[in-house]
């Protein structure tokens, strides 16, 4: 027992000494990140993205647990050594009070997506974080499908009505349904309902779950589903049916469409998700950079944050992590084929006039799976099994409400902020 204690004390001393000396000798900014954690990405971040920053960066990506623990510890201590925090919007929004106002940072010459800048305010008047990088979901089509576009439709500004008409044309004029949807066991169908369909029609993911507007959205989807390849319930990654020609028109996460563009870049086009009555709902996977109030050198941290959104840094970040720029940075020709094709579609969608970002669930913890299941069940019951839509929405709304209460999760965008758990009307 005594011996263990002595070893423990010794180790603690050694560690604190090491930290202390490192702190003195190291004027580098500590970049504490929950992103780019895989070793290859970390290495590229250090060697290609952050190397050009004067003064040096100590880039430390972490697993979610330790990542949060240290931020909270430094918050409670009131001071710390983290200079910049890089994380997803959901994590950053948990500690809004802890971040320095970044609105004074000089952004001249760089156009950051206004929708993302707004998200970065976290509902306050201050710029709590700056957008850093993003991924999302887009549509992809085989070029053979383009002649069947309904008249007057602009592929970069489609509405859901036009999408249905397009899918209908394809089904009727080619002889078989050509729309594809990732409804397989591992497909990301729930993200479409949470982040695209419901926001576009009801302007909400949770609160208006059972509203008449949401019902209209589901009714549209049921119509669209008639023209969907019935094998859709087996599709997990849409790049495969796109490549083998079973599907000409599809929706999916950019990482799950990439292979189609990499293998046959000339055969496919990528374009933004359609818009509904409330706007062009889309689910950004947005990461941002923020500065804790207890940072050792706030000026150096601000310089690093500014460096992160420079065009060259944004492009280097894309190459390192496959996350896209949040600015209008021009993409070089040397990019992978998929990045070249998907990048403009992502930009067109996120910077569209009617863009309506809907975030990944925030604050649900391990109830995230059951939250997704509410949307999946609604789909399986109302669309696949053909049960009465109104009844299904009412029943699933009960489940959803119980979940929000259990998680005690306040609303997140596009739902209006709530006191206490997010209400389901």
């Amino acid at each position: 027992m005594k011996r263990t204690l002595r070893i423990l004390a010794g180790t603690t001393l050694a560690i604190s000494m090491a930290t202390l000396t490192a702190g003195i000798a190291n004027a580098q900014v500590l970049f504490w990140s929950s992103q780019a954690a895989p070793v290859e990405e970390t290495q590229k971040m250090r060697e290609q993205v952050l190397k050009g920053f004067e003064g040096g960066v100590d880039f430390q990506p972490q697993e979610p647990g330790p990542f949060i623990t240290r931020i909270e510890a430094e918050m409670q201590a009131g001071s710390g050594s983290i200079g910049v925090v890089g994380a997803l919007h959901g994590d950053l929004s948990r500690y809004a009070d802890n971040w320095v106002d970044l609105s004074g940072i000089d952004l001249s010459g760089i156009e950051v997506s206004p929708a993302f800048m707004e998200l970065g305010k976290l509902g306050t008047s201050e710029q709590k974080y700056l957008p850093w990088m993003q991924a999302t979901y887009v549509m992809a089509a085989n070029k053979e499908a383009l002649p069947f576009l309904p008249e007057g439709a602009d592929i970069n500004a489609l509405t859901y009505g036009q999408l249905v008409a397009w899918a209908k044309n394809l089904a009727e004029q080619t002889g078989s349904p050509k729309f594809g949807f990732p409804a397989g066991p591992k497909g990301l169908k729930h993200r479409f309902f949470q982040g695209f369909l419901l926001p576009s029609y009801a302007g909400s993911t949770v609160t208006k779950f059972r509203s008449a507007e949401a019902e209209a959205g589901w009714t549209m989807f049921k119509e669209l589903w008639q023209y969907a390849n019935p094998a859709s319930t087996n599709y997990d990654f849409m790049q495969e049916p796109l490549l083998n020609g079973d599907v000409w028109l599809a929706f999916d996460h950019i990482a799950r469409l990439g292979e189609a563009f990499n293998q046959r870049p000339d055969d496919f086009v990528a374009f933004p998700a359609p818009a509904g009555p409330m706007g062009r709902g889309f689910m950004p996977v947005l990461a941002g950079v923020a500065i804790p109030k207890g940072a050792p050198d706030i000026e150096a941290s601000k310089a690093l944050v500014r460096y992160m959104i420079q065009p060259e840094t944004q492009v280097a970040t894309l190459l390192a992590t496959n996350f896209f720029p949040v600015t209008d940075a021009a993409l070089p020709a040397a990019l992978s084929k998929s990045a070249q094709a998907l990048g403009p579609a992502v930009t067109a969608m996120t910077s569209a006039d009617d863009a309506l970002p809907a975030l990944l669930p925030v604050g649900l913890g391990d109830l995230g799976g059951q939250f997704n299941q509410v949307y999946i069940d609604t789909f399986e019951r109302a669309v696949l099994a053909g049960q009465d839509l109104r009844q299904v929405l009412d029943q699933q709304a009960e489940t959803l409400r119980a979940l929000m209460v259990q998680a005690n999760a306040p609303c997140w965008l596009p739902d209006a902020p709530s006191e206490g758990p997010c209400p389901v009307e």
Partner: protein, 281 residues
């Protein structure tokens, strides 16, 4: 060492194994199914039974078992009768029949998936022969019964041999004298099968049916391979609640339902196929 203690000592390792790896986890699952942060509760069962998929899930599982087990029983009886009558090549035939037993059920499911898939063997043959113009989607959500039939085929193909092996050994135990006596009294082959083989086979039938029925209630990998989540069964839902929905309590409740119907069917077979006292070979 006293001779009387020896059998118990020899049984000790197996008993310990069962206690540690079966009884202990079972108790834990039973506790899980009735617990919540606030203590004892029936909520997991409530969540389970009120979930819209529960009825379908239970029905699918029972229906699958009710179809698969009788088919396997009849086929296994026929196969076992043929095998026991063989003079030459008996072992070779036995080995061939039991090949599928060596496969995991997931592998069996994938083999049948390769047949029924949109780009699978069946479609290739149909297109090649010009019977259909383009590959047919057999395993879609619209033709639930095709998935059903595919699962039945895969299960029958995979697990009939285990029933047959048990019946073959059972038939080997029936003394020849009974058949000779029956022949003397003029019983034909069919009559001999009904009046001699079947009654004498009771203990083996009982074992085989209990084993197969319990396994059929636990059908999982084959269904997942062929139908994904389109055809929900009890075991699949247990897995789903545990790993996708992160709710161990409801998963435990599902596990207990499987256990309950397994016990019920075991008791049923024990009762119906019991050997009357004194009627041993």
């Amino acid at each position: 060492m006293p001779q009387r203690a020896l059998p118990y000592l020899l049984l000790l390792p197996a008993t310990l194994f069962l206690l540690v790896f079966f009884l202990y986890p079972f108790l834990q699952i039973a506790i899980l199914a009735f617990s919540s942060p606030e203590g004892f509760t029936l909520k997991p069962f409530q969540t389970m039974t009120t979930h819209w998929k529960f009825g379908t899930t239970l029905w699918n599982t029972i229906l699958l078992t009710a179809i698969i087990v009788p088919i396997q029983l009849v086929m296994a009886l026929a196969m076992a009768t043929i095998v026991t009558k063989l003079k030459t090549g008996r072992n070779a035939i036995l080995y061939i029949f039991t090949i599928p037993l060596g496969l995991s059920d997931l592998a069996a499911g994938i083999i049948w998936l390769a047949i029924f898939e949109q780009s699978g063997f069946l479609n290739s043959v149909l297109v090649g022969l010009g019977i259909v113009e383009r590959p047919v989607l057999f395993l879609g959500y619209q033709n639930l019964w095709v998935i059903f039939v595919a699962v039945i085929l895969a299960e029958v193909w995979r697990a009939t041999a285990i029933v047959m092996v048990i019946l073959v050994s059972g038939m080997g135990l029936i003394p020849k004298e009974y058949y000779e006596a029956a022949e003397v009294f003029g019983a034909g082959p069919w009559k001999r099968f009904l009046k001699v083989t079947l009654p004498m086979l009771r203990p083996s039938l009982q074992t085989a049916l209990i084993l197969r029925t319990i396994a059929a209630f636990e059908v999982f990998a084959v269904v997942v391979a062929l139908g994904g989540t389109t055809l929900p069964v009890l075991m699949g839902e247990t897995f789903n609640w545990q790993f996708a929905l992160n709710d161990r309590n409801v998963a435990a409740a599902y596990a207990l339902v499987i256990l309950a119907i397994s016990i019920a069917s075991t008791l049923f077979f024990l009762r119906v196929l019991r050997t009357p006292k004194g009627a041993t070979i």
